[in-house]
Subunit: 575 residues, 2 copies
């Protein structure tokens, strides 16, 4: 109730200003917020904040391909809108250093030149990434609490807790009011780095008045509170104590609080730590160099020294908690890791839960490890993972502190956004003040209105190898078709003058095991030959007509025989 | 403790019989148990029980393809071992009517002729399935409690509770002792059909002495008890009461207890029930005809009459709870269902949890429904699903009642089997009496020994369209390759005499968007041409050498340019 009353008061206050605005001076523009990614999807977070000739961008992330995007490496946002408005862009503001918030920057920087603002660790991780791409943009380190201006905007970074240090929420003062992006967050009252989320600041900004809140929706399906990261450390101690010999811990390289706790546990039991996996090595290097990880001098040893210590003194910290095919843990599970050969004395702790879509690869790794006799500790059997995102009660707390006039749920698939909207409504926010938007929606604000009329380009761009955007729906459809029933190439040679067509030679891939399907292959040849005979008889000299007839009759023949529908590529060569 | 003592007593008793056996009459053979499926995998359950010239088979199921089997429809067991021993087979015994226990029968019956034994509903569902395949084997209805003999074996069906009525555990008396297969089960003390699992019978058989227990491991990762199916009925009533208008319930067509509860809830609120989806219609038809579903005369209406009643009187019961692409619910979510167009008054209840691997398709359906404004009730947000399998405490109860001498965990991936083995050990069973086996392991028993020496063929056979087993690893590898980076066909014409090679023509599919990649395509043509010029210059007349050189140089060219590795098919036609 308090919440609603406050909103009403603000609305009335601001309502009074309106006539003045209409009369005097230049007419005020609307504040435009354009999410280009992160809505109705997990990942690829990027939001444009625009007022007249000024734009700032909040985050610039990538995401991973769906199952229906075979061969695609990563997915980045379509930034056509930013390219068109490059002259207005004052900077990219980063909430934290995870890939779904910074991963598209190397690709975006090839199109537009723009300075980047973030906290020390966030920029450290980004710099590491940009080095690989040989990019060196202007990067400006931000200390939360030190406000600064970009164009008409006043920028205020606010300490937030998440699964990585130095995360921030970002408040932006605009000519139409203050907007607040929570970024990814959880409320951890006992954080590993001792840096509490700045809840008093959220309350203070709320009291001053927030026009619109854009809040993380990832865990809105989960009741209650996310457990503190510290609980995982307690479980690590228990598991380390129980382990008879060598310990391998797999977790996200980006979860630096988790990494810190593995380090603490190793040091607590006087074990040596080996770091395995490229992203793990890189992240730990950056974070410890910048002072965000505490590691005693002699804790870490090189992987080549693994046999210099008895196995009970070894902890290997590795990537691969999602069963990624090329990761260190997956290679260990397949017996393909050069330095780490597992045996039935070893304990593997998978400190993560499968991200939806990764269940099968994760379970495959667990099964293989168990087949090797390894003891596997994983989330179904022990409390060795907590989320980095706020559950329902934490979200309610933020809503209650910020008391925004308007609310737009972000960071989530459609169901998360809808449920987060319901959560806000259940706290008394008028439904007309809540908006579930889409990527590309232009959300326009005055002090007391929120509208969505226009849309701009905002799809995804697929990155495959070095190609950016050269794989689209047609290519994906062909890949899917090829993967399901394979391919048949029908090669024929034709004489334009006589109309005679020789062949066919038939080549198949991914269709049937040819050696055991000779009758079928022979039947296919006869079917094509009979089509060609008909074409010759009918004096068809237009080769594309011949090809179409071959494709169509062969498709029917094959489907009739074995109910499959391979891609058929007829090729005619003129002799 | 009790458990261990009993085991010891039995062992001693039997130990005393051994000398007699050695002396008099024919030497006793070993009992051989050969799982051909269901171990280290979920599904495809089939186990051979063999003593001298007699074999009975317990279950004969299928499973669904993994992600690395594109285009495959279903996976069935390799039954080479059964084909070799067909003369010994006395029958297939079915524990219940789910696909992972009966689904391979139509394929197996094409290879071997064998009578099938099962309860009334199990055979009813099987008969329906066999009709589609135009098969009519001998089927013998079994009433639990009525023992019968097959060869040397005494067969005893025991009532079990599961997510479908008429499920059974099966005890088999063999010359070496009694073995017990639990089949799929949970312990539901308040079952929907009022038919309790026959726990007293398990105790009685246990007291008589069980040589080996083969028990369901599906839920061994879960602590405590599986909730009673009846709790879902209570939640249905609550959800039906809350729904403002039309209700759509999606669940497994095979979960007939769930189906019954939807019927009860519809009747309770005086709503009409529409049944949608082929398997749902079929299963309900069979189960109600055989008396396993109670439906009032006027409850069900045809889907074409959906508009004859106001929407608040309509419940649609449908398939598609796993987001299956062609299912009724998925079509509704895409607006493609002919009779059911959803709107923002509708409530969709998804009464299931995603089977691992199906998460993304299920969430996709939920997201699409929510985007349509539909209220979606799903397992993350409400208690509208319970499992049909026993959790840890239920498993312990069965172990405690049966008190077997030996134990082989079945129905599970490697991790389930290992954890189930640990569970048995934690109850005091000696570790040497527990065996985690593989498909194809031959487990040999005497009265007091269990050994695994030999193995037999037991892989999987892939069914793709009408083809059974004609898709193997090479074909799958090609499909995967094609799906990841697409295909390039390089067509050239050659003159054997002059050694001159014309071309190439290059055709690509699933590789790049050709119209926007003209430079790359031109570069590829030049690369091939240059290889051909070299071959001409070197007077290479062996076309397979030319093809290899074209493939290899083009692969390097493409990888250097865009880091992709498409399948390259060079074709040379002799002019």
């Amino acid at each position: 109730m308090n919440n609603r009353n406050n909103n009403k008061t603000e609305r009335n206050n601001r309502g009074r200003r309106n006539p003045k605005e209409q009369k005097g001076g230049r007419k005020k523009a609307k504040l435009r917020i354009v999410p280009l990614g992160g809505l109705n999807e997990i990942g690829k977070n990027i939001t444009v904040v625009e007022y007249k000739d000024d734009i700032v961008i909040v985050d610039c992330g990538m995401t991973f391909p769906d199952n229906d995007m075979p061969g695609i490496d990563i997915v980045i946002p379509d930034i056509t809108y930013l390219e068109k408005n490059e002259h207005k862009i004052r900077g990219i503001l980063l909430t934290h250093g995870h890939e779904d918030h910074i991963g598209a920057i190397p690709y975006v920087l090839r199109k537009i030149s723009v300075p980047i603002y973030g906290t020390r660790l966030t920029l450290g991780l980004l710099a590491n990434k940009l080095k690989e791409h040989r990019l060196k943009p202007t990067m400006v380190e931000v200390t939360p609490g030190n406000k600064f201006n970009l164009g008409v905007f006043g920028i205020d970074f606010i300490r937030a807790s998440h699964s990585m240090p130095d995360a921030a929420s970002i408040a932006i003062d605009t000519p139409r009011g203050t907007i607040l992006f929570t970024g990814d967050f959880k409320i951890d009252f006992t954080p590993i780095d001792g840096v509490n989320m700045d809840l008093p600041k959220l309350a203070e900004i709320g009291t001053r008045g927030v026009l619109c809140l854009f809040a993380d929706s990832t865990n809105v399906e989960r009741e209650g509170y996310t457990m503190s990261e510290r609980t995982v450390g307690e479980e690590f101690k228990k598991q380390f104590y129980d382990a008879p010999s060598r310990i391998i811990v797999a977790t996200f390289a980006s979860n630096l609080h988790r990494v810190q706790q593995v380090i603490y546990a190793a040091e607590h039991f006087n074990k040596k730590l080996i770091i395995s996996g490229r992203s793990m090595v890189n992240n730990i290097e950056v974070a410890s160099r910048l002072g965000y990880l505490k590691i005693k001098k002699d804790t870490v040893i090189d992987i080549h020294r693994i046999n210099d210590f008895p196995p009970e003194r070894i902890v290997v910290l590795t990537t691969g908690s999602q069963g990624e095919p090329m990761s260190a843990l997956t290679r260990m599970a397949h017996g393909d890791h050069r330095q780490v050969q597992l045996n039935n004395e070893d304990t593997v702790i998978i400190s993560a839960t499968p991200i939806p879509g990764n269940e099968l690869t994760v379970y495959d790794v667990i099964n293989r490890l168990m087949e090797m006799g390894v003891k596997v500790v994983y989330s179904a059997m022990a409390d060795i993972h907590v989320s980095g995102h706020a559950c329902r009660e934490e979200l309610k707390l933020v809503h209650a502190l910020v008391r925004p006039k308007f609310f737009v749920p972000v960071h989530g698939e459609s169901r998360h956004l809808k449920i987060h909207a319901e959560l806000a409504a259940s706290m008394g926010m008028p439904r007309e003040n809540i908006l579930v938007a889409n990527n590309g929606s232009v959300i326009e604000f005055t002090e007391d209105s929120m509208e969505m009329n226009e849309t701009v380009d905002a799809g995804h761009v697929l990155v495959d190898g070095l190609g950016i955007g050269d794989v689209g729906n047609v290519v994906l459809r062909d890949r899917k078709h090829l993967s399901e029933d394979g391919l048949i190439v029908v090669v024929m040679t034709a004489n334009k003058l006589s109309g005679k067509i020789d062949g066919p030679d038939i080549i198949s891939r991914g269709f049937v095991y040819v050696k055991e399907s000779e009758d079928l292959m022979e039947g296919m040849r006869k079917s094509v030959r009979s089509t060609l005979d008909t074409c010759e008889h009918d004096r068809v000299r237009d080769w594309s007509t011949v090809k179409n007839q071959v494709r169509s009759s062969l498709r029917s023949y094959i489907f009739g025989k074995i109910k499959r529908n391979p891609m058929i590529l007829p090729v005619i060569i003129e002799a």
